[in-house]
């Protein structure tokens, strides 16, 4: 029997969905931490309930799930309204079945469905024009209507080879249990057979040795033979040695939702409870990070030049009250000729004043707006891809990060990311050479892929707006 390319890819993708590869080691190297009871399913499908809060080196830290997987796809369904409505029902049924099997916390499984702009443009252009949220702040700046979700761009420190992707949908699966992720992914695409043509599968892990031990990044990198793995500190949460999930650096409650801070107009409210998601992959040159930057340099570039840190510290306090301002950033650059990662982002990623959110919560000045959900990976650059040539796919493991950030809008994310490159919101460009040491972290990162997505609220996560097609 001859297989079409589509059938062949479908079979290969199905195998890759459940395959563990090197990530099987995660279960041998780390124990699932105890988790709080799962709460009710929130309308904000990007939020995880039952997260464990612990204190590490005197700082409150959120302990993320151990296993992470992103599956991207294009639609394989016909564009007829009836077919799309049927697809909508089938996907929702498949997601609901998963939710019946697993509690919505890391001990169970969390699934987040995000839709790319190619979906809205091709499948539901009319309803999308009426309902996709509008970025008020960006519209005011540009003096024209600017959508809350924009196509991804290459940033000044991105290489020209960075691929701006055009996936129509992305599924993010997170759990402490690999079997849960594998089962959910397999059943999701089996139950929706024929609706999706998978484009990539991305896998990874997160887990520091908060309760002792080497921690997953060091242990996994060592097992994979990553250059510089020996230099990763014992217990580090990420390959680059610092903890990224301090409570104070993560958007709390619903702050990252479109409507919460008032930055975004959700119009008639179809996407209320939704958010914007940026998904990218980047390689991390672990060896360069540890051989070329000493601990002091790593602190300076990850946080701010001169940031106080005990030698060998991994979790550094970054409270709301101490958030860097734009003046601090300019001062850092004047004094040191360099900027730090956190210090450059905080002027745009932290609240400049107390704000009572649309959800009724009070968000204090200095609170972080973005909610990060990134995870380390040994994918090169993906676990599986339908287009290995374009993606420069290799089976050889390499250290990297699947970066995921939930922000109220693409413009909000862009402001943060541009600031990392020394481009301030008022357009000022600090004269930093792309990927130079003065840009700190950027000098050891190489971004391969980027894309922005709409994360609808849970009740509208399946083929959003299809029911509005006439």
């Amino acid at each position: 029997m001859r297989l079409t390319r589509k059938q062949f890819l479908g079979g290969a993708a199905a195998g890759a969905l459940g395959a563990a590869g090197i990530y099987e080691l995660v279960d041998q190297l780390a124990e699932s931490p105890p988790r709080a009871e799962a709460g009710e399913l929130a309308e904000e499908q990007y939020l995880l309930s039952g997260m464990k809060l612990l204190t590490h080196e005197g700082v409150e830290v959120i302990e993320p799930p151990l296993h992470h997987q992103v599956v991207t796809a294009r639609l394989a369904v016909d564009e007829r309204r009836s077919d799309l409505r049927e697809a909508q029902r089938a996907l929702e049924a498949a997601l609901a079945a998963i939710e019946r099997r697993y509690d919505p916390n890391p001990a169970g499984l969390a699934v987040t469905v995000a839709w790319g702009l190619p979906y809205f443009r091709r499948v539901v252009p009319g309803p999308a024009d009426r309902h996709l949220p509008i970025d008020r702040r960006a519209s005011t700046s540009a003096d024209r209507r600017v959508s809350a979700v924009l196509d991804a761009i290459r940033f000044p420190s991105d290489p020209e080879t960075t691929i701006l992707e055009d996936n129509e949908v992305a599924f993010l699966l997170r759990s402490d249990e690999r079997e849960h992720v594998a089962d959910a992914a397999a059943s999701l695409f089996a139950d929706t057979d024929g609706l999706f043509e998978l484009t990539s599968i991305r896998k990874g892990f997160q887990g520091g040795g908060f309760s002792g031990g080497a921690g997953l990044p060091k242990a996994m990198a060592t097992a994979a033979g990553i250059q510089g793995a020996d230099l990763i500190p014992e217990g580090a949460q990420l390959f680059l040695g610092f903890t990224s999930t301090q409570k104070a650096t993560q958007g709390q409650s619903r702050i990252s939702s479109f409507e919460t801070l008032g930055l975004v107009d959700v119009r008639e409210g179809y996407f209320r409870g939704g958010t914007h998601m940026h998904l990218s992959h980047l390689f991390e040159n672990v060896e360069a990070w540890y051989l070329d930057f000493d601990f002091r340099d790593r602190v300076d570039t990850t946080f701010r030049p001169g940031f106080q840190a005990r030698e060998g510290a991994q979790t550094l306090k970054q409270d709301a009250e101490a958030a860097a301002s734009e003046d601090d950033l300019r001062g850092d650059f004047r004094q040191h000729g360099a900027i730090g990662h956190s210090g450059s982002i905080q002027p745009t990623s932290r609240l400049h004043m107390d704000i009572r959110g649309a959800d009724g919560d009070l968000y204090r000045k200095g609170s972080a707006i973005p909610l990060r959900a990134d995870f380390n990976t040994l994918d090169n650059p993906f676990f599986w891809t339908s287009d290995p040539d374009r993606d420069r796919h290799s089976e050889q493991p390499d250290a990297g990060l699947h970066f995921i950030s939930f922000n109220p809008s693409s413009d909000d994310f862009r402001r943060n990311r541009l600031a990392m490159d020394g481009v301030l919101p008022d357009g000022t460009r600090l004269p930093l050479q792309a990927r130079s040491r003065a840009q700190g972290l950027n000098s050891v990162l190489r971004t391969t892929h980027r894309q922005n997505f709409v994360v609808p609220p849970r009740s509208r996560r399946s083929f959003p707006l299809v029911e509005q097609l006439r």
């Binding site: 250059q227 510089g228 020996d230 230099l231 060896e287 360069a288 540890y290 051989l291 070329d292 930057f293 000493d294 601990f295 002091r296 340099d297 000729g337």
Partner: protein, 200 residues
């Protein structure tokens, strides 16, 4: 098969080469019972000891393909001796696309503090990020994973002796891994021969 391997090994020894425990080839003084600076390398190191007026250390082994002959093919810059008699003897093999093997020997007579390097306007330690100490060849060396200037990207072994600070460093770059470099440095420092200055 085994006989063929023995013949091959004998040929290597005869050519002045040896094999590490894991089969990595390197340059060594053939058949020496104790670590000894090879005769071909010794004059240069003796001259260096005389020039700086203090003990220097000549290796008995170097990672392939380089040797430690001062003024030889892998030491095109000779030895750099500063006014304070601190010196740098570097040995480098570089092949585009293949990688580097680069070993530096330094000495700072009369100094015990870690030297300072310039980084733009800043004065910073030339060696930082201590990764513990090791006992090698009777010396207790401190291992540094971040090194500056001519030692950038090198792992450095540092020790102090009779008021002089000595370092040996090797570049971590393909084809060498960090672990391989540690093993090489163990072997280099474990096989050093002290060369005393001789009065004219």
């Amino acid at each position: 098969m085994r006989r063929a391997l023995c013949i091959a090994l004998l040929a290597l020894v005869a050519a002045g080469c040896s094999l590490d425990d894991d089969g990595v080839e390197g340059r060594a003084s053939a058949g020496a019972p104790t670590p000894a600076c090879p005769a071909a390398w010794k004059p240069g190191w003796q001259q260096l000891a005389n020039d700086v007026g203090t003990r220097v250390y000549c290796p008995s082994w170097m990672p392939s393909p380089i040797d430690a002959e001062i003024g030889g093919q892998w030491n095109s810059d000779g030895v750099i001796v500063d006014e304070d008699k601190s010196y740098l003897a570097g040995f480098l093999w570089h092949e585009a696309g293949s990688g580097d093997v680069h070993v530096n020997f330094r000495g700072y007579p009369g100094r015990s503090a870690v030297p300072r390097c310039r980084d733009g306007k800043r004065s910073i330690p030339c060696f930082s990020d201590v990764r513990g100490t090791r006992k090698v060849g009777g010396k207790t060396v401190t291992v540094y994973t971040v090194s500056r200037d001519a030692d950038q990207w090198h792992v450095t072994y540092l020790w102090r002796e009779n008021g002089t600070l000595y370092t040996v460093s090797e570049h971590v770059a393909p084809p060498l891994t960090f672990q391989r470099v540690l093993a090489n440095l163990d072997r280099i420092v474990g096989g050093l021969e002290a060369i005393e200055p001789q009065s004219a």
